[in-house]
Each structure stands twice: as structure tokens, then as C-alpha cells.
């Protein structure tokens, strides 16, 4: 039986969180090694396990995969969450890439000086309300189906839920003009694997705090 995937990252969301979500949603158990010291990081580099000297790193199926999107694509395909044909796959990619961009803005904001950070986060909320969420609301309205693509649960749905929850942490009212997204949020949150991941004690990570930023800065010598 195959070993569980092993995730190497800091003890926080950052660029690894979407990977955790995807694995959890697919019902895949995974292990985590948390980077807390510079020495651990240097060892990973010295051992040649980080192709471009960076994390996230996911050990899976005998491979040492880095680059967030490469990892996400592999997992999506492996767990049948990437559409049934190229036209479905490209739609999933378009939606997932859009939401990932939005979530990375949040992840990067944590490392900015306070004023810039607040500006960045306000921009995220604005983009969510004016650029991203209207698109997804319309997609759901136009086809009237439960999931974004092909009437089937996919990576795009997982990313959208993750993004909705992340933006709601910044502005609890963000879905007020998007009734279908509200229903979507409830529906996807109730999928058993996701429901489990949303409960306390799961491997889901909290929003970045000062301690997290300090550890990352220290390990990466930023």
C-alpha cells in the first residue's frame, strides 16, 4: 500500500494550504513536517530535495514535488478532480488559477508593513466582490448546477470554498450580494471530507499571525 503523502512547509497556510485542502477534500490522509529552524531548511536544500531551493515540498508516489501549481495539478488529476475532458480541465484551471491568485495576495500581505498590509487586504476584498465572486455567481446561475464544472465536484469547487472562507475572515459580509455562492458555501462545506477538515483539530491551518511571519522570515532569512 502506498505511503501517505508527506508535506514539508511552515506551520501555517502560505502556499501549502490549497494543497492541504485538496488532499483533505479527496479524503487522502497526509503527514506533515513543519519547518521551524534554518537548519532544517538548509538540510532539505543540501540533500537536493528542493529543485529550486523552495518549499512547498510534497513527497508523493516516489516523487519530490515542488512548485505549488505542479503539486495541485498532479493531485487534482490523481483524485479525479480535474474534469473529464480537456474542455472541462481548462475551465477548472481558469477558475482555480483565479482563486489561487486571490488567496496568494492574502498570504503575501502578511509579510508587508502594517499600512501596506491593510491596503493589500482591502484590495483582496474589493477584487473578490467585484472581479471574482460575480463571475462564479454567474457561472452557478447560468447552469443551475451544484458544482462549477461538469455537474461534478472538482478542484475548482474546493478552491472556491477555500477562497470564500478566507475572504470572509477579512470581511464577514462579503457574500451578501451572492445568494448562489452562499448556498454553494453551505453545500460544499457539508461534503463529509470537507466537513471533517473544517472541524477543530484538523490539519487546516489558522490565518497567519506575527509568530508565523517571524518563523518564516527566520527560516528563509528574508
Amino acid at each position: 500500500m502506498a505511503a501517505k503523502p508527506k508535506l514539508w512547509y511552515f506551520h501555517g497556510r502560505g502556499r501549502m494550504e490549497s494543497i492541504r485542502w485538496l488532499l483533505a477534500a479527496a479524503g487522502v490522509e497526509f503527514e506533515e513536517e513543519f519547518l521551524e529552524t534554518r537548519e532544517q531548511y538548509e538540510k532539505l536544500q543540501k540533500d537536493g530535495r528542493l529543485l529550486f531551493g523552495q518549499v512547498p515540498l510534497v513527497e508523493i508516489d516516489g516523487m519530490e514535488l515542488t512548485q505549488t501549481r505542479a503539486i495541485l495539478s498532479y493531485l487534482a488529476a490523481k483524485y479525479n478532480l480535474h474534469g473529464k475532458d480537456p474542455k472541462e480541465t481548462v475551465r477548472i484551471d481558469m477558475y482555480a488559477d483565479g482563486t489561487l491568485d486571490l488567496m496568494l495576495m492574502v498570504a503575501l500581505a502578511a509579510f508587508k508593513p502594517l499600512e501596506e498590509k491593510e491596503e493589500s487586504l482591502a484590495l483582496v476584498v474589493k477584487k473578490a466582490k467585484t472581479r471574482y465572486f460575480p463571475v462564479f455567481e454567474k457561472i452557478l446561475k447560468d447552469h443551475g448546477e451544484d458544482f462549477l464544472v461538469g455537474n461534478k465536484f472538482s478542484w475548482a469547487d474546493i478552491q472556491l470554498l477555500e477562497a470564500i472562507l478566507m475572504v470572509e475572515e477579512l470581511d464577514a459580509s462579503v457574500l451578501c450580494d451572492f445568494p448562489l455562492l452562499k448556498e454553494f458555501k453551505t453545500r460544499i462545506s457539508n461534503i463529509p471530507t470537507i466537513k471533517k477538515f473544517l472541524q477543530p483539530g484538523s490539519q487546516r491551518k489558522p490565518p497567519p499571525d506575527n509568530h508565523y511571519v517571524e518563523v518564516v522570515r527566520n527560516v528563509l532569512q528574508l
Binding site: 515542488t66 505542479a70 480537456p86 481558469m94 472581479r131 471574482y132 463571475v135
Partner: protein
């Protein structure tokens, strides 16, 4: 028979150039509609042609695709430049993402405020020499094959060779200690479709002119 893909973007490299390279290398003829004024961009937005109000946008196979990566993934899969299985695809994605990361730094250099430019350039040189080029040189060294993945031309080779041209434009000496990369560059450049694309008069775009970028910045407000 399907029409040629139509690419909507500014008349410059930006985020569309890697798509032009990939189509060209795949031997696919394509048309371009250049956005020259803000009105052109507004029209596309108002038509509902741009899912997230952004370009690149590629009209292909009856779809209006946005998000650079989604477009590249679709083209690569369609033209058999994406490996023979999921594991090859993961490697190709990992390498392509690394290329994109360095490519992004180089792409943004002309947009850098003059005071920050020197520091940015130093950083790019450092990453090129110590992180990215060694990684790819080592991949080629490790298997001794002509191409990065599966002993067959893939999108990873095309993206990397495109990047090597940009590195060379920045400073030819940066490629000096990477014989296998030089060989890959020569090999891929000699493929008939790529050779044609490298000739004057092709749809390949020239280096970003600083004056032009300033004008575009003012016109499109970015």
C-alpha cells in the same frame, strides 16, 4: 475545420509571449488582435470576453480562455507537449513553474522604479546563476537525454529555451557555465517550427521598450 486561435493582448511580450512561443513551436498558426488603446480593452471587458477582466485572452476551439497557465496547459495537452502520463506531467509542470518564476522577475524589470532597478538586476543575476540554471543543467545531466522530460520535446523545453533567450539578452555571460543548457537551446532553436519563429518577421515580439512601457502604463493605468 477549426479556425486559427486568436490571441488578444498588447503588442508586446508580457504574459502572452510564452503562449506565442508554445503555439509557434507546436506548428500552430495563430492570429493576433492587439489592444492599442484603453477603449480596446474596455470593449473586450464590456463584451464579456474577459472572464476576470484581464488579458491574455485566447480564442481557441470555440472558447475564450483566460489565465496564462490555463491557456498553456490546454495548448500543451492538445499538441502532445505535456508528457505521456501524470508523473511526466508533474515534472513538466514543476520545471515550467520554475521557468515562469524567473521569467516573471525578468518581465517586471522594465517596470521597476529606477532607484530599485540595480538591486533587482543583481537579484535576477543571482537567482539565474545560483538557483534556476543549475537546477535545469542538473536535470539534463542526471539523465543525459536531449530533452528535460521523457526523452521527448515538451512544453518545458520550449519555455526554458524562451527563458534562455531572455537571460542571454540580459547578459550572455550568464549562460557560460551551463553547457547542457546551451546545447538544449541550440537543439530546440533548430527545430523547424522554432527556427521559423526565431526569424525576423515572425510573430515573436522584441524586448520591452522602456519608453513604450511608460506610455502603456499611463494609458492603461497600471
Amino acid at each position: 475545420m477549426a479556425g486559427k486561435p486568436i490571441l488578444h493582448y498588447f503588442n508586446g511580450r508580457g504574459r502572452m509571449e510564452c503562449i506565442r512561443w508554445l503555439l509557434a513551436a507546436a506548428g500552430v498558426e495563430f492570429e493576433e488582435k492587439f489592444i492599442e488603446k484603453p477603449e480596446g480593452l474596455d470593449k473586450l471587458k464590456n463584451d464579456g470576453s474577459l472572464m476576470f477582466q484581464q488579458v491574455p485572452m485566447a480564442e481557441i476551439d470555440g472558447m475564450k480562455l483566460v489565465q496564462t497557465r490555463a491557456i498553456l496547459n490546454y495548448i500543451a495537452a492538445k499538441h502532445n507537449l505535456y508528457g505521456k502520463d501524470m508523473k511526466e506531467r508533474a515534472l513538466i509542470d514543476m520545471y515550467s513553474e520554475g521557468v515562469a518564476d524567473l521569467g516573471e522577475m525578468i518581465m517586471h524589470l522594465p517596470l521597476c522604479p529606477p532607484a530599485e532597478k540595480d538591486a533587482k538586476l543583481t537579484l535576477i543575476r543571482e537567482k539565474t546563476t545560483n538557483r534556476y540554471l543549475p537546477a535545469f543543467e542538473n536535470v539534463l545531466k542526471s539523465h543525459g537525454q536531449d530533452y528535460l522530460v521523457g526523452n521527448k520535446l515538451s512544453r518545458a523545453d520550449i519555455h526554458l529555451v524562451e527563458l534562455l533567450y531572455y537571460v542571454e539578452e540580459l547578459d550572455p555571460s550568464l549562460l557560460a557555465s551551463f553547457p547542457l543548457l546551451k546545447a538544449l537551446k541550440a537543439r530546440v532553436s533548430n527545430l523547424p517550427a522554432v527556427k521559423k519563429f526565431l526569424q525576423p518577421g515572425s510573430q515573436r515580439k522584441p524586448p520591452t521598450d522602456e519608453k513604450k512601457i511608460e506610455e502603456a502604463r499611463r494609458a492603461f493605468k497600471f
